[in-house]
């Protein structure tokens, strides 16, 4: 009999070394709670990270954990998943780690549909190296390396993921226990590569960069919480809805009370819809934006290997498989 575990069972004895007030604390708490709720086993769960503030995550989760090198976590995780596909492999990365130095690995892990649960902590800044602008920073971001404001246009993680062929893309806010908990559970259950973008508030170098939609007081009007099959409504009284304008080929906000029949329903299997949703700024789309399962890489990789990686042939025979001759 395996005992029922709680969030505490997934917490290590290590002192957490993030800045006081960092959004990572909330994420850690929600993740350990989720692990307990989905019945994860510590011995078959592994957290793999790269470099950055977020990358310290594995030290604080009582499972297997591997803190690797900058940007390469998806590649290490792919090797682990191939060697042992029974392990639940989580990848913890950030906007610099996953989209700058490690962009290539993230792209290919998503394209191949390797069974990795990728958590991208996006705070639009390099925290650990003291505040330089990142590939997700908005134009004009002032930082030690861009004192006059950054000039390059930012990457949208959702566009990146969908463009790479990801079959699961979700979004949540670090402190939103319910919303984050829900997408993490769906990511856990997904067979294949899932990418969850978590808006993470860096209180030291980029405080409140997401406040325009994370502020609880105005959240009802700035957040669009998606549910598969449900109408896309928001506002204190669900008075606003999303409508697809066929002339501008874009989503627009309409009066949902006046035109209830013109409000779109969310369909997480529609990629074109997902592509429109990830570009939306106001309201900000949250929840599972795209989920369309396909066979995972490891399943296809193992398909011709009837015995897995166990050997069925003999090396002695293989050595003698070409033309041989005998000297007496």
């Amino acid at each position: 009999m395996t005992a029922v575990l709680t969030a505490k069972d997934f917490t290590t004895s290590q002192e957490v070394r993030w800045c006081p007030g960092c959004g990572d604390f909330a994420i850690l708490k929600t993740v350990t709670k989720m692990l307990a709720e989905v019945g994860a086993r510590p011995e078959t769960t592994a957290f793999i990270s790269g470099i950055g503030c977020a990358a310290r995550f594995p030290y604080y989760v009582e499972t297997y954990g591997f803190h690797t090198i900058h940007g390469r976590a998806p590649a290490v995780a792919t090797g682990l998943k191939l060697a042992n596909p029974d392990i639940d492999v989580w990848v913890v990365t950030g906007d610099g780690d996953g989209l700058s130095i490690g962009g290539n690995h993230l792209m290919h892990a998503l394209r191949r549909n390797v069974g990795l649960k990728i958590l991208l902590f996006n705070n639009e800044i390099y925290g650990l190296t003291k505040g330089q602008y990142s590939p997700t920073s908005r134009v004009g971001t002032r930082s030690p390396s861009t004192p006059g404001g950054s000039i390059d246009s930012p990457l949208l993680p959702g566009q990146f993921a969908l463009g790479a062929g990801a079959r699961f893309f979700a979004r949540a806010i670090d402190t939103d226990k319910v919303g984050l908990g829900d997408v993490l559970k769906q990511a856990h259950a997904f067979d294949g590569a899932s990418m969850t973008e978590i808006f993470q508030n860096c209180i030291v170098y980029n405080e409140d960069v997401f406040a325009d939609f994370t502020d609880r007081k105005s959240a009802a009007d700035t957040q669009l919480r998606l549910k598969h099959g449900q109408p896309m409504l928001f506002g204190a009284d669900n008075e606003k809805g999303m409508h697809f304008n066929t002339e501008t080929f874009s989503l627009e906000v309409i009066d949902a009370k006046a035109h209830p029949d013109q409000v779109l329903r969310h369909d997480e299997k529609k990629k074109v819809l997902a592509q429109l949703l990830v570009e939306l700024k106001a309201p900000m789309a949250l929840g599972v934006i795209y989920k369309n399962p396909g066979e995972s890489f490891e399943k296809s990789w193992y398909a011709p290997r009837k015995n897995g990686l166990k050997r069925s042939g003999s090396v002695n025979d293989a050595l003698r498989s070409s033309n041989t001759w005998t000297v007496s």
Binding site: Q14, F66, V76
Partner: protein, 632 residues
């Protein structure tokens, strides 16, 4: 018909356009050579371009082989027989020939256009340029097309059979049985019977031509001595084949799956291709998105309990450097194969060099020691691969295995081992879970003899721990920035690599006396030419000895003492003296480097000349060196 010319050994070179099928022709001739019980060594020499412009000198592809009584350890210096499919092939090969050599040319290709493309103003057969050679012109293209006419192939498809026509002629010259090649063609073209029949017909026609043509007067036949080799079952093997089989053998010996993660690069890719077909032997292959991903996936595989292996050539190895440091710090087993090529940068991708020795030994940030071993011959790649895995699992460390482009492609006869005779590979077992102890510390309880830690992998209950590239406490395994601890960890990592020396056999003298005037120290693929050169010099009773290194880091414990028994040490290597300076650094000796970086292996004659120059003048007449001649 002329009488057979008896020879101890013979060097044959085939040369043509890269589309002429010269490599295939050579490998088939070698297969028949093997079955006839001769020793051999081959050297494929091909251009970097897949299909270089036809008829040009830079598009010439060649296959050189040395056949005869053992030991044959190089593809030979000067070809005795050259088959040139076009003027460019003749032009490129001519400087290698010594007078008296036999040249067979495909006369159909000696057109004005082809002569110009090769840079000849006039046909060299008519200018006297070939007067010192025996030249036989054969209309190979034309005769082949006539032979395959009944099969209704297009002119270009029919023309593709000409390598088998020429092979048939060669088989006649060497008295070889055609049936193994016909069997091979039947298998290869089982689904294309017309192509098979056309090639078989071309082969037989070339053979019949030798027998019946008037020109057989001019065409000699050879009787090559059979090798006296140790008894047993043999096969022909290239370095890439031996390395791939060695890796799967290591997996079986360790009873672990093997995961080979690689990114395409010349000349390392054949390893990926071969292993991709050995899935039933417990090996999985993964073609990663880049070199860094390849090594990282291999590290992930090792973390997951498989034997992670990655492979590349110099430029790709450079990209993997940071991840090697991760494997060192995480104390995970890993094998990194470097099939060295000419450099720097893109350099000479299809040519050979030994210039990544510094990179292997010193080429990482920080104090990051990694054991380095090198294979000496095609067949030795098998045992070197097993040894690399053995060290990696014993010490929980990455290991670098150095091969090179020459070894990857060179073929030789190989005495096939029985797996039962090879010692199984042990790994550091995971401990039994114990509630009273911290699992983090248990993961880093090292064996004091090897500094190897237990190989605990995800999936094992109650042994969860965290590891990474960040420095950790030597005992508890938790993150540590303590100054004293970093010193102790650095010392531990150095001690781990040094401890490898306690498990390796003492260095021995391969040829010559145990002490004396001159010691030659070799490493890697220079084994063949150095062995042959030293053997030749020893025949004239000169005072020279030879030892060859497999272990580059750490060096065998007795090497300094062994080298000290000689007045002089000479290190021939295909770089600018990298092993020489390593020996100076580690042993405090002062060897003389003998360097060659032309992208080609050493010639035996280059080595004998250099060695002679270091030996004192002979005083006594009885010790006069005998005239240099063919190895007997």
């Amino acid at each position: 018909m002329s009488d057979h010319i008896s020879m101890e050994s013979i060097v044959v070179r085939l040369a043509g356009d890269s589309g002429d099928g010269v490599q295939l022709m050579g490998s088939q001739f070698i297969a028949s050579t093997a079955l006839s019980g001769k020793d051999f060594a081959t050297f494929p020499d091909y251009p970097a371009e897949i299909r270089a412009p036809l008829g040009t000198t830079f598009g010439v592809s060649a296959y050189q082989m040395n056949i005869g009584a053992s030991p044959i350890s190089t593809a030979g210096d000067a070809p005795d027989v050259l088959v040139a499919f076009n003027p460019a092939a003749l032009k490129v090969s001519l400087p290698l020939l010594e007078s008296g050599a036999l040249i067979i040319v495909n006369s159909d290709s000696f057109t004005a256009r082809n002569l110009t493309k090769a840079g000849y103003d006039k046909d060299p057969r008519e200018t006297g340029a070939l007067d010192s050679f025996q030249v036989v012109s054969v209309d190979i293209s034309h005769l082949n097309l006539e032979a395959v006419k009944p099969y209704g192939l297009s002119k270009s498809d029919g023309g593709r059979c000409k390598n088998f026509w020429a092979l048939g002629l060669l088989m006649w010259m060497f008295d070889r049985d055609l049936s193994p090649i016909e069997d091979w063609l039947s298998k290869k073209f089982a689904k294309k019977p017309v192509v098979k029949d056309a090639n078989v017909t071309a082969l037989r026609s070339g053979h019949a031509f030798g027998e019946t043509a008037e020109l057989s007067e001019a065409l000699p036949r050879f009787n090559i001595s059979t090798a006296s080799m140790p008894a047993g079952e043999y096969r022909g093997i290239t370095g890439a084949e031996a390395l791939s089989l060695g890796l799967v053998a290591a997996g079986e010996l360790a009873d672990r799956p093997l995961l080979f993660c690689s990114y395409p690069i010349t000349p390392a890719s054949p390893l990926l291709h071969r292993l991709a077909r050995l899935g039933d032997l417990g090996v999985g292959t993964f073609q990663a998105e880049d070199e860094i991903a390849a090594i990282c996936a291999a590290i992930g595989a090792s973390y997951g309990g498989a034997i992670g292996v990655t492979s590349s050539s110099g430029p790709g190895i450079a990209l993997k450097t940071e991840a090697m440091g991760l494997a060192v710090n995480a104390e995970l087993p890993l094998v990194i194969v470097n099939s060295q090529r000419g450099g720097p940068s893109t350099g000479l991708p299809t040519k050979t060099e030994q210039s990544d020795l510094y990179q292997a030994v010193y080429g990482r940030n920080a104090d990051t020691p990694i054991p380095v071993i090198a294979a000496r011959s095609a067949g030795d790649c098998f045992y070197t691969a097993i040894e690399a895995v053995r060290i990696a699992l014993r010490h929980m460390t990455p290991v670098i295995l150095l091969s090179d482009g020459y070894l990857s492609n060179a073929a030789e006869p190989w005495l096939i081992p029985d797996m039962k005779d090879i010692e199984p590979i042990a790994s550091n077992a995971a401990p039994i879970p114990d509630d009273s102890r911290d699992t983090q510390g248990m993961a880093f309880e090292r064996n004091p003899e090897t500094q190897g830690r237990p190989w605990i992998t995800p999936g094992m209950p109650e042994l969860m721990h965290r590891l990474g590239g960040i420095e950790k406490d030597i005992d508890t395994g938790h993150i540590s920035y303590e100054p004293e601890n970093h010193q102790r960890m650095t010392d531990m990592r150095a001690a781990k690599v040094e401890s490898v020396a306690n498990f390796i056999p003492p260095q021995e003298i391969e040829l010559g006396a145990e002490e004396g005037e001159l010691l030659i120290i070799g490493w890697g693929s220079t084994y063949g030419p150095i062995f042959q050169a030293v053997q030749e010099i020893l025949r004239s009773h000169r005072d020279v000895s030879y030892t060859h290194l497999r272990y580059i880091q750490p060096l065998p414990g007795n090497l300094g003492e062994l080298a000290g028994r000689f007045k002089q040490v000479l290190v021939p290597e295909m770089n600018m003296g990298q092993l020489s300076s390593l020996l100076r650094d580690k042993l405090g000796i002062n060897p003389t480097p003998f360097c060659k970086v032309t992208g080609l292996p050493f010639l035996i004659s280059e080595l004998t000349e250099r060695i002679h120059s270091m030996l004192p003048a002979v005083v006594k007449a009885v010790n006069e060196p005998v005239a240099k001649g063919k190895a007997s």
